[in-house]
């Protein structure tokens, strides 16, 4: 299959290999994605901190034209899988920009932020890399955009949520029957399909 993406995947996992942010710009079945994350982790884990940050992914994804470029921060590995059209050192800088942006957006960023604020993290990533292409490399631009988005969300949330909250409070008191979650024991666990991010 031909790869049309310059950045094939962005993987963030912690020192134990637990994925914290997984974004593929190429459709892969869920199992393959998990396998890629796992193998990437094992590749990266083996490497000391003082050796080079490039890894030939080889058979992993994309083939020989693709490289894994990664950075290791305290408890997290940020791995970008890119093809040869991207400058290696440029991508290293980009990872730094991404991480700094995260730190700016979530005070004192921690790996749990990536889980808890998954929507926001994806939004930030979307401002940095779009559809496998680098969109913006200037951190101030990115942060400004995120802040604008937050403002927008707040104003809309404030306007729309306030009356809704009041209504729901009143309704909840008066309604004799409330919609409740019924727990059914034998439903399969649906794994959200990550490819919808692509």
């Amino acid at each position: 299959a031909w790869r049309a993406k310059k950045i094939q995947a962005i993987l963030v996992f912690n020192n134990h290999g637990k994925p914290r942010l997984v974004r593929f710009y190429q459709r892969f079945p869920e199992e393959i994605q998990q396998q890629i994350v796992r193998e990437t982790f094992h590749l990266v884990l083996k490497r000391d901190d003082n050796i080079c940050n490039f890894l030939e992914g080889g058979s992993l994804i994309g083939g020989s034209d693709y490289k894994l470029i990664y950075r290791h921060y305290a408890t997290l590995y940020f791995v970008f899988c890119v093809d040869s059209s991207e400058s290696e050192l440029g991508i290293l800088d980009l990872i730094q920009v991404f991480v700094e942006t995260l730190d700016k957006c979530f005070e004192n960023v921690c790996e749990l932020d990536l889980i808890f604020h998954m929507d926001k993290v994806h939004y930030i990533l979307q401002e940095v890399v779009m559809g496998g292409m680098v969109l913006e490399t200037n951190m101030n631009e990115i942060v400004a955009q995120i802040e604008a988005q937050n403002r927008l969300e707040k104003s809309e949330g404030g306007l729309s949520a306030a009356p809704a909250r009041a209504v729901s409070a009143v309704k909840n008191i008066n309604l004799p029957e409330m919609p409740r979650n019924i727990n059914i024991g034998d439903l399969n666990i649906k794994v959200p399909n990550l490819s919808q991010f692509v």
């Binding site: 050192l89 200037n138 949520a161 909840n172 309604l175 409740r180 794994v191 959200p192």
Partner: protein, 1095 residues
């Protein structure tokens, strides 16, 4: 995600590009015109942010709809000069990516890019452009010349390593493109190599890596300038970093020459021994083979050395490249005729020690070499010193443990060997020996006949029959050797892998034409066999083609030979004098070699390649001396003849004569092969479709309608006036469609919500965790209730019946004491039992070790809070819900008699609200109270439980209530009552529920939760205690903890998910919460704020 993202970003402006992308991605139907128009118009949006995204999205649009490239390109080109750097960068990005795949179409943009390169200060843009130039220069050498200067300037001036590196890269590309045209750019090459050396010598491993990477590019065209840095490359081979070692290996490939091959391979062999990981060792192995075999074994001067290297490689543990080594052995043995004798000797030794090679199962990869060894020994058996010994080695029972395909080769080659031995023995007139060999085969072959592998079985049984037949003939003293050898007469020649593909289709041959008219469809199935049968009969009766007589055949053979002789690709048949000599039958021939006698043809045992290195050195030295002698003579001659050469003693590659005059047979190509090499293009390449001439002016049909301002001056041509109409038309349905889509999406979302909620729940609740918890709670109450009852059992067993009376009327002193003690201990007890609960949950909820809480003593905690108190009684209470009952909570009230009176007939009543009701015994009215099921002697406490039904749990509420009782003491009894306010906090509706981090992540990923946060300053408590407090008082469990950050989870009795991210700063704690109900969340956080304020 796109849809959901679009929905989650409320500003309709930023949403559009993503919708476009979604459309471009999902487009299975025809190209949606409004989509094209959409991105088209967005590209000139007033907001740079929109323009930027629109431009980037065009790339995807082009990929999906190549026909849109030409019409949209002019606008895209404009964006290269957009005032906003972000937009400019995006445009550069897109065009570079397009150009990278089909560079020739973008040459006309070179001046524009050149301008950008000299004016832009954005390193990202510069890097992109410089990379693009790297792709363009091979097509236009003049461009390269123009580039050299600004690029060299950049190299000298820039401080950014990334830019420097890309400049060097592009200069290299330029130099490569120029290398044919302009030879004199050594200054630039020198500059590049110099800079790269600096990179490689840098302590930053990244620079080192990239330096090596770029170096390998120079190597291809200017190997000399790189070879000067061989020391550096060899040094990198020792680097601790595998990536760097691999790069260095790549470089080595180009650095070898006849002169240094042996030395380099020797170094690699030592690395092979040292290498730890099998991957790196395998890589080394393939590299060694690559290096040695490159360009038709160009650099190998001594094939004996190479064979011994290959043999040494067979001793590698657990390599997967056995087949590679085997292929090399075969290739060398077949193509280098002079080496056959040596190769055969080595291979027979290998077969002899096959047990070493194939002993352990983990070496299974390497047993492939036995395949080669068996074949070589069989095929070139005439070179075998001890054929009989080899034959026996090949017939050992152990062989049957080898993989089937190897056994098959063994079986086949056993016969070849056998044939050779027969020949030998019969020539020596040693009939008994010949019969012995036959007997050996007859004895040993059956083990292969039993093989499970069909191929082995088939071959073995065939051959066994043959050998038995031979045995019969031998018994009659009939000479058979000649005939048996005839089975394997003739030579096998190597055929190039592409040979078949290159056979041109002869004129007049139409492969698609029917050979026979196809059977008509009307023919029914059962008729077919009949027809076939008839056909067959006809064939029999057909007159057979007259058999070509001998003369005709000879004539044809001659014609073919002529043809082959004239064909440059049919090398084998162009008869060199040497070959003709070889082809003479029966002559064992070693070509016109001057075999150096210092190189023994057979080194005893397994020869070490090192020996060859030494021998080779000696040989070369001698050669040099001889040459010098000759030169001297020549010089002397020349001197006599007045002219004089200054001959510096430099040994160039060409000076080294190979040890053997090796005759490397080229792979055979078919007659009339086409000399083209362009057969490797993938028709699936999407970029092929994008190979579009962009400079050709747009045809009318290709022009896109352009949205213009109403008062724009360009509404001159009638054609353009029509256009906005078209657009209006196409825009309307878009809106509708959008709305419709959104509705659909919402619908879907709702459905998904339900489903996922369930799924989540299913994945979160580890079985029995909650019941266990409940049980614990129950146990605590039970102990409090029963302690008084159980104690006496031990002491006075007969008092059982009177127990109730005892309790009621005359509690013994002892019991009183006990109760008092109990009372004192109770809070502690509670603490113990209660305290234990949350940490246990934490452990369960923590699959990842990094989150475990360190053991640290926790302060005593109790969840019971004061309800009301007077001189008679003190009430404390706690509210618990359960996940099984979504609208019920149980209020446990501990009643403590603080007076000397006996308290009885206690009754609790509350004023129900619409939302919360006390569950009363059946038949009682709203005004009736619920009796407390026990009485309290002085100083005694006991717990009663009351069930409340709750409708909505998103808000806290208070219920007024009264406890009425009769206090009885020596003076008589009085009716008393105590008013209270029962407070149902939102927290009290939560149930501690463990949650695994995966499920937690999935829940948050769903994006259906609303968020809210609080921050509390001035907190001095340790994070560990803080978490424990939240766990205990707010009924959360820790999902994961990383340093001073933790994610927590809880669940309401009505199934609301509550997620927390608690982070501790210097003196503050921030809590971000997400919950399926925003009101519940904000109330919970407010309650939590109060708790935290006391920390």
């Amino acid at each position: 995600m796109l849809g959901c993202r679009a929905a989650s970003c409320p500003g309709d402006r930023p949403r559009q590009p993503e919708e476009l992308m979604a459309r471009a991605d999902s487009g299975s139907g025809p190209w949606p015109p409004e989509g094209r128009l959409g991105s088209w118009t967005q590209m000139s949006h007033t907001k740079p942010y929109i323009r930027k995204k629109a431009v980037l999205i065009m790339y995807k649009v082009f990929l999906k709809y190549p026909e849109s490239l030409r019409p949209a390109f002019p606008r895209l080109k404009e964006k290269l000069e957009d005032p906003d750097p972000g937009v400019q960068s995006a445009a550069v990005n897109v065009i570079c990516e397009l150009a990278r795949r089909n560079p020739k179409n973008y040459l006309s943009l070179a001046p524009l890019f050149f301008k950008l390169m000299t004016s832009s200060t954005n390193n990202w843009v510069l890097i992109k452009i410089i990379k693009l130039f790297g792709a363009l220069t091979p097509l236009e050498p003049r461009l390269g010349k123009k580039l050299i200067e600004p690029l060299t300037n950049l190299i000298h001036s820039t401080s950014a390593m990334s830019l420097l590196y890309e400049c060097v890269n592009t200069v290299i590309a330029v130099l490569i493109s120029l290398s044919s045209g302009m030879p004199n750019h050594s200054a630039s090459i020198q500059l590049c190599v110099q800079k790269l050396r600096i990179l490689i010598e840098d302590s930053d491993q990244n620079l080192k890596y990239l330096g090596l990477l770029a170096m390998s590019k120079i190597l291809r065209t200017h190997p000399k300038s790189v070879q000067a840095h061989k020391d550096l490359v060899l040094q990198c081979l020792d680097d601790k970093d595998e990536s760097i070692r691999l790069r260095a290996l790549d470089l080595l490939y180009g650095m070898v020459s006849k002169k240094n091959l042996m030395e380099i391979v020797k170094k690699l062999m030592t690395h092979v021994d040292k290498a730890e990981g099998t991957t790196y060792r395998d890589e080394l192995l393939t590299k060694i083979i690559d290096i040695c075999s490159q360009s038709n074994y160009q650099h190998i001067t001594n094939f004996e050395w190479y064979i011994s290297i290959l043999v040494e490689l067979t001793r590698l543990e657990g390599t997967r490249h056995g087949h590679l080594i085997a292929a090399q052995m075969l290739d060398v043995a077949i193509r280098v005729k002079a080496i056959r004798r040596f190769a055969v000797a080595q291979m027979s030794a290998l077969l002899d020690s096959a047990h070493l090679v194939a002993s352990s199962p983990q070496r299974s990869g390497i047993c492939e070499v036995l395949y080669a060894a068996a074949w070589i020994c069989g095929e070139f058996s005439e070179h075998l010193q001890e054929p009989q010994q080899t034959l026996e080695a090949m017939l050992r029972p152990k062989v049957t443990t080898l993989p089937g395909h190897i056994q098959a080769v063994y079986v086949q080659n056993v016969v070849k060997l056998y044939a050779a031995i027969l020949q030998q023995k019969e020539q020596a007139a040693d009939t008994s020996a010949a019969q012995e060999v036959t007997q050996l085969l007859v004895e040993r072959l059956p083990q292969f006949v039993q093989s499970a592998d069909l191929e082995v079985q088939e071959r073995a049984s065939c051959i066994l029959q043959l050998v038995k037949h031979v045995q019969k003939l031998q018994a009659k003293d009939v000479p058979v050797a000649e005939e048996v050898s005839a089975l394997f007469a003739g030579e096998l020649n190597p055929v190039a892998p592409k040979a078949q593909k290159k056979v041109p289709v002869p004129e007049g041959l139409d492969l698609d034409a029917w050979i026979n008219e196809p059977l008509s469809d009307s023919e029914s199935e059962d008729e077919k066999p009949k027809a076939m049968f008839q056909d067959e009969e006809q064939r029999h009766t057909k007159p057979r083609a007259p058999e070509a007589d001998e003369q005709e055949l000879a004539r044809r053979r001659e014609a073919r030979r002529q043809e082959q002789a004239n064909n440059p690709f049919y090398i084998k048949s162009s008869p060199s004098p040497q070959k003709r000599y070889q082809d003479a039958p029966g002559v064992e021939h070693i070509p016109v070699v001057q075999i150096d006698l210092s190189v023994p043809l057979k080194v005893p045992g397994m020869p070490l390649s090192d020996q060859y290195v030494k021998l080779e050195e000696e040989r070369r030295h001698r050669q040099r001396l001889e040459k010098d002698k000759r030169k001297k003579k020549k010089r002397e001659r020349e001197r006599r003849g007045t002219r004089r050469h200054s001959s510096l003693h430099t040994e160039s590659d060409e000076d080294i004569a190979p040890a053997q005059r090796v005759d490397i047979v080229t792979e055979e190509m078919p007659e009339n092969a086409l000399p083209s090499d362009e057969d490797d293009k993938d028709p699936n390449d999407p970029y092929r479709a994008l190979d579009i001439d962009l400079d050709k002016p747009l045809a009318d049909s290709e022009k896109l309608p352009v949205q213009k301002h109403r008062n724009a001056e360009t509404s001159k041509s009638p054609e353009k006036e029509d256009v906005p109409l078209v657009e209006k038309k196409s825009k309307k349905p878009k809106k509708k469609e959008k709305k419709h889509k959104e509705k659909e999406r919402e619908k879907k979302k709702k459905e998904v919500e339900k489903g996922e909620d369930l799924d989540f729940w299913l994945s979160t609740t580890p079985p029995a965790a909650t019941p266990a918890l409940e049980e614990l709670e129950v146990n605590t109450t039970v102990t409090v209730l029963k302690e008084g009852q159980e104690e006496p059992r031990g002491e006075e067993q007969d008092a059982e019946e009177d127990r109730e009376q005892d309790l009621e009327k005359k509690p013994s002193k002892h019991k009183k004491k006990k109760h008092k003690k109990d009372k004192e201990e109770r809070p502690k007890d509670k603490r113990k039992s209660k305290k234990k609960v949350p940490p246990a949950d934490e452990e369960a909820a923590e699959p990842v070790e990094n989150g475990t809480l360190e053991e640290e003593p926790l302060p005593p905690m109790s969840s019971y809070i004061l309800l009301a108190e007077n001189s008679y009684i003190k009430m404390t209470y706690d509210v618990q819900g359960s996940l099984q009952k979504d609208s019920q909570v149980t209020v446990s009230v501990v009643l403590e008699n603080q007076s000397d009176s006996f308290l009885k007939s206690m009754e609790l009543n509350v004023l129900d609200s619409l939302n919360a009701r006390l569950a009363r015994p059946e038949g009682s009215s709203v005004h009736d109270g619920v009796p407390v099921p026990f009485q309290l002697p002085p100083g005694i406490s006991n717990e009663a439980q009351f069930v409340f039904t709750i409708q909505s749990i998103v808000m806290a509420q208070k219920l007024k209530g009264t406890l009425s009782f009769i206090a009885k003491n020596d003076e008589g009894s009085t009716h008393e009552k105590l008013d209270f306010k029962l407070h149902f906090t939102c927290t009290s509706y939560l149930v501690t529920t463990p949650c695994y981090s995966d499920a937690f992540a999935k829940l948050l990923e769903s994006g259906d939760l609303s968020m809210s946060s609080i921050k509390v300053d001035g907190i001095s408590m340790s994070f560990h205690n803080l978490l424990a407090k939240i766990c205990f008082h707010h009924r959360f469990s820790v999902v994961e903890r990383v340093d001073s950050c933790a994610s927590m989870y809880s669940r309401s009795i009505q199934g609301h998910h509550v997620c927390l991210l608690v982070k501790k700063g210097e003196k503050s704690v921030s809590v971000d919460g997400k919950c399926s109900d925003p009101t519940l969340l904000s109330n919970l956080l407010e309650e939590m704020k109060e708790t935290l304020a006391t920390c």
